[in-house]
Symmetry: C2
Subunit: 220 residues, 2 copies
DNA sequence: AATAATTTTTAGATTTACCTAAAAATAAAA
DNA sequence: TTTTATTTTTAGGTAAATCTAAAAATTATT
């Protein structure tokens, strides 16, 4: 049984571990909006509980138990996001903070029933995969929009940035999940990308294109 | 902004204040499963925050602000209970502990949308009234089943005990909310009560009869 | 390889919500 | 109206999660 705080540390370490093998103290501190000294205290505690492997000055990795716990929190977070969007009509940019709280409610029964109520969704409103109750989920094989060449097409299936301003921006442009797109041009000058949608044409910056994930349906 | 613990104290004081005018330290301690010394610490803090009025050795009463806060927590608790029963198919004896956690999620938007999603319910699965978003709710005018005379009839509209064994017991007997009942006999020996239901006859102890609430539809 | 810069850890405090044990106030009983 | 019992508060301490400031280890740079 972990505290609210311990759960947040595990989740943060899990997400950081998707990018780097060994997760550094400073990286955790930045993500958790706290000080490195506090992180050191906590990772000692998590190591004592067998949730992470920790070598002084060398960063941490999740143990099997730690990873399972983290995945379970991610599962809860994403299921609650689906609930908020599908059932309570929240927009995709409004759900993160509330889900951040809801993910800590401790009841296996609750989550299993919620999962069923929602129709066992495979992805959350941002396209991130939802682990099943055994922690299994398909490794998503997305390409960043920025990597597409002129003429390439595909479907928007995710985003790698969850901030409200970014998501609102996409919404305004009509770049929402499930939309079919084709890259019609890439500007030499600033690297901005022109996108053809079924009904219109939009121009997005390199920065935005980096954070849109595409499931490609064949190069042209 | 209150902590999880402060919210629980306010809620406890609110419920105790339904029975006694001045709420005693020991009563709070018993309800919160903590020690009187800890209660004293906390009520000082709540008094400093202007949520309760407190005179040493004389117990506490909620201020207007404190009462509003407490009612808001009660509202959340009861709405979540409706959600769990109506949408996730929990039984009425299984919802209390989970709702106890869910009630602390801080998002006005969430609760308003949940309320709407549930169809603005007026009562929770145990018949307790749900305050609206302004904290208003009808004072329920129930009679305890034990107070009915032989021949009196009415509808089961609430319970004054939320423990799982008690609720399971009622369920087994078919004494659930909305059921029409008539008192057909009261035993002199042990005060147990014989109840006529539409399709059967059941016998309940005095103790059980004390905790069933009836909205009377006229004496016989 | 020595020095500088960065990262991480230790040491010592703080805050919140508890606790125990003892003292003080209030209420009940002789 | 004393004495006794009960209730409540104070005093002093603990554990969790945080902090600042300073020391130690690691990494990068000349």
């Amino acid at each position: 049984m972990q505290s609210y705080t311990e759960e947040n540390y595990l989740k943060t370490i899990y997400h950081l571990a998707e990018k780097t093998i060994n997760v550094q103290t400073n990286a955790i501190a930045e993500q958790m909006q706290t000080k490195p000294a506090s992180v050191t205290d906590m990772i000692k505690k998590l190591a004592d509980k067998g949730l992470i492997d920790y070598i002084k000055y060398q960063g941490v990795t999740l143990t099997e138990t730690g990873k399972n716990t983290a995945i379970d929190i991610v599962r809860k977070h994403r299921l609650w996001e689906v609930f908020l969007v599908d059932k309570l009509n929240f927009k995709w940019d409004e759900v993160h903070d509330v889900a951040e709280e809801l993910e800590h409610i401790k009841s296996v029964e609750l989550i299993e029933r919620l999962d069923e109520f929602l129709g066992f969704p495979k992805a959350d409103p941002h396209g991130d995969p939802i682990p099943d109750k055994n922690g299994r989920f398909a490794k998503t094989q997305f390409i960043k929009l920025i990597e597409l060449k002129v003429g390439d097409s595909g479907t928007i299936t995710g985003v790698s940035q969850h901030s409200s301003p970014f998501l609102k921006h996409l919404e305004k442009l009509g770049l929402t999940l499930g939309k079919q797109i084709q890259v019609s041009d890439v500007t030499d000058f600033d690297g901005s990308v022109e996108i053809r949608l079924s009904d219109k044409q939009v121009n997005i910056s390199r920065e935005v294109a980096k954070h849109i994930l595409i499931s490609s349906n064949g190069k042209n």
